[in-house]
Symmetry: C2
Subunit: 200 residues, 2 copies
């Protein structure tokens, strides 16, 4: 019974779609293309997650202890509010990226909801982009003072002493900049896919 039922279902499933397509409008439906989009989307989102996680880890493990004569000086990311904001923002971005990677995977399995997902992805991606870009700017601005100093305000450079710490900061900044670029690409990709669904 079961073995005869299933082929019958497949037959009807194959036979039902063609008539309406060819008969009335002759338009070719694009579902397979959208699946292809969501594969790229998943890859980009996973890269955002990886970049955010790397960025957070690199700056969190950047602690450096230096012996300056009798004094012991320590450089840690949480000595600067800018780097605390950076870690918080990139953690949020990483969490968001892994959640939306799963959401995007779910669309590959159930493509019916793809348009709704695309819209919400753009809405949220833009917010996270703003967060990551501002955090990169904040940490970058402070890191630049650490690297060059500022003679007008008499803020001394600290990177000549804490070289390893500054290398970590630069690494974290580079990966968060990479995450920003990926988020821009994600918004572009989603918008372009939405645009393609509009009938000419």
């Amino acid at each position: 019974m079961g073995s005869t039922d299933k082929p019958a279902d497949l037959e009807t499933a194959k036979e039902v779609p063609p008539p309406p397509k060819g008969a009335a409008y002759g338009s070719t439906p694009p579902p397979p293309k959208h699946d292809y989009f969501f594969v790229v989307d998943v890859v980009l989102r996973f890269l955002v997650f990886a970049a955010s996680l790397t960025s957070v880890l690199v700056i969190v493990i950047s602690k450096q202890t230096v012996h300056l004569g009798p004094r012991i000086s320590v450089a840690k990311f949480n000595h600067s509010p800018a780097f605390i904001y950076f870690v918080a923002a990139l953690s949020v971005a990483g969490l968001y990226a892994i959640l939306t990677t799963l959401a995007s995977l779910s669309v590959i399995w159930k493509p019916i909801l793809s348009t709704k997902f695309l819209l919400h992805f753009v809405f949220l991606d833009v917010l996270v982009l703003g967060l990551v870009a501002s955090a990169t700017g904040t940490a970058g601005g402070v890191a630049y003072i650490g690297y060059k100093g500022n003679e007008h305000t008499q803020w001394q450079k600290v990177c000549s002493t804490f070289d390893k710490f500054c290398q970590h900061v630069v690494g974290a900044l580079a990966t968060s900049l990479f995450a920003s670029v990926l988020l821009v690409l994600l918004v572009w990709l989603s918008t372009f896919t939405l645009h393609r669904k509009i009938p000419k």
Copy 2:
């Protein structure tokens, strides 16, 4: 002549669209709604321009001279690379905003190109958002050090001396944050309008 021309144009504009719509497919086309969208778009873009211009002007005229005993100290925005980047970024954003305000106005006059414009607006708005958000972060991070100092790096606060300068910086930061929020709203609005054009 002018008074008779205009009503005639409006009449043809109202009369031409209905025949093709009703004749072939009977679908209700939404052009009037898109016009309404582009009016909001123009207003938001003009506000981004106004906010960017205000932000640049407020920080450029922030020069403060203070007499500390025999010494004369001057605080200017170009004493910090972070504020120079801020002025450059907000100038680009202001120029971009006024150009796209005109582009958006042109779409109100010729709605045929609206879909293409929406796509390109999202592509560029996202880039400018990244620029403005990072500039706000950079200037904000440095301003925070000026306001609070940092005892770990022995960077002294300067806002206790240069109060007027710091007030200008805070004003510029607030308006650039406002510009960032407007740019997010612009991306949301364009994407939502694109989404609405997709047949259900």
